[in-house]
Symmetry: C2
Subunit: 295 residues, 2 copies
């Protein structure tokens, strides 16, 4: 499979849909919509929407059915980045090689643009797929995403990540943070694709479990990159986690052990992906793509 | 009608439901749930949930069907207050006579508690009413609320309110801010009640229009209170709007004209309420309650 071509094609479709779904840049209030679009169209890899669509296909559905809902996940992801970057949290000034939203605009607008993107995500999830007989799946999609990203999911992970900053290495705590902060949304992306494909509960749970483990893989790769990457390859300053005293895989287990864990998890996920979609499918290719990010 | 008794009874039911719906205080991550509960159980009047339930009854429904969804509106309202109070926005240290969340906890936790409450609101709207055949109404409720509180609704009003601070008096701009910042959520509360009662589109729109005008009444009363109230009656410092250079009814039209507008609008809304629910109903009593807040 030519993953690069597939990713480029997917990103083009997703970006076009995001452009249609977000309020136009000039619409009232213009500066807010400008900030929302600045953040959304800031060079993101669209991993979560690509995953949701790949999972929809793997579960036997038409990925076009999941297009808008997949975009809602990108809105959620973008909101979380905007708020994470704020001075009260990670205080980051650079994201994907550009000024963060509160630097390019101001703190109030960054806060409110994040709030609006989170809200818009639910507007999209509750409206799409806009087909007869899908109301139940739309309500279910809202619920699944809300539960994944709320106080017991992504936001909870964010809180514990802050609380654990500067704390002694603790493997169980690290797992809990990563599962909630990154794993929950990526798990929801994969599960959402299966849900919109019409998968039964048990099969949906299988997809969800795969997604959560893929989220963990993603976060381990991210932790390693923070140690081994360059500012140019990362689009942000490397070494920030260590400087901030964050609990990361390399900090808790060491860089070599983190890399071994990455490889072992990637191998197991490739086999899981084959079970879900057969050989040489998109989910499997995405596993390798995520795992290779640190090379 | 004994409105005080009705309100006390409604608030007790709503508070009990909020307590059931929110994660327990000790659940992981404890400090986040503590902050969410501190904000939600901070002496709010529960105007939006009371309105949603009254509208449900007025539209011929059982208000118990709307109980949880009504609570979701209070979560949304609380999130908006927490974020509004942050230093980057209104920088308020006092709310309902207590320290605001970022003062009682810290800025990061206030930001994340707001995010989590907004998210939890959609989890609740997508789950309740938990009855067969209601999936369509649940998806519709998510959409209605999301559209009311997003970038073209409540958050948009917040942005324009900030931008208009210190600007020259402008009646049209003031209306736009108030309609979005306060009117949209109160309109959605009334419309949500009608939706969950099973009202047809046209009737729902009638309820929504009444709700938006009631929201305007609410905001005019609030603006007047900021001029005439005391710290004890308000639970926050009076005169804050004028000191901050906010665009308000008294600032644009003068205090007397604002009071006349309040009385005229209240009179017209009482007649509208009679059209919706007959004489001596709860919606009408709530109009008078809102209008009397400045006395």
């Amino acid at each position: 499979m030519d993953l690069a071509a597939l990713l480029a094609d997917e990103r083009a479709r997703i970006d076009a849909a995001l452009d249609r779904l977000l309020p136009p840049a000039g619409a009232w209030p213009a500066r807010l919509h400008e900030a929302m679009r600045y953040a959304v169209f800031g060079g993101g890899k669209r991993v979560r929407p690509v995953l949701a669509r790949a999972a929809c296909r793997a579960a036997g559905g038409d990925p076009e059915v999941a297009l808008e809902a997949a975009c809602a996940l990108e809105m959620v992801h973008t909101y979380s980045l905007i708020h994470d970057d704020l001075p009260a949290l990670d205080n980051d000034t650079l994201r994907r090689g550009r000024a963060t939203v509160h630097v390019a605009f101001d703190e109030a607008l960054a806060l409110l643009a994040g709030d609006a993107l989170l809200t818009e995500a639910f507007a999209v999830l509750s409206r799409f797929p806009d087909r007869d007989g899908f109301a139940g799946r739309r309500a279910q999609a809202c619920r699944m995403v809300a539960e994944a990203i709320g106080s017991r999911g992504m936001v909870g992970g964010q809180v514990e990540d802050l609380e654990a900053t500067g704390a002694a290495p603790d493997g169980a705590r690290l797992e809990r943070i990563h599962a909630a902060k990154t794993g929950a949304l990526i798990g929801a992306a994969v599960e959402l694709g299966a849900l919109l494909a019409g998968a039964e509960d048990a099969r949906r749970q299988t997809f969800a479990g795969f997604g959560r483990r893929l989220g963990l893989l993603f976060q381990i790769a991210d932790d390693i990159l923070d140690v081994t990457g360059t500012a140019a390859s990362l689009g942000k300053s490397p070494g920030k986690d260590a400087a901030a005293g964050k609990l990361t895989y390399p900090a808790v287990w060491g860089l070599e052990a983190a890399r071994k864990e990455l490889d072992a998890l990637a191998g197991s996920l490739v086999r899981e992906a084959e079970g879900l979609e057969g050989q040489a499918g998109t989910l499997g290719a995405l596993v390798s793509f995520v795992a290779r990010r640190d090379r």
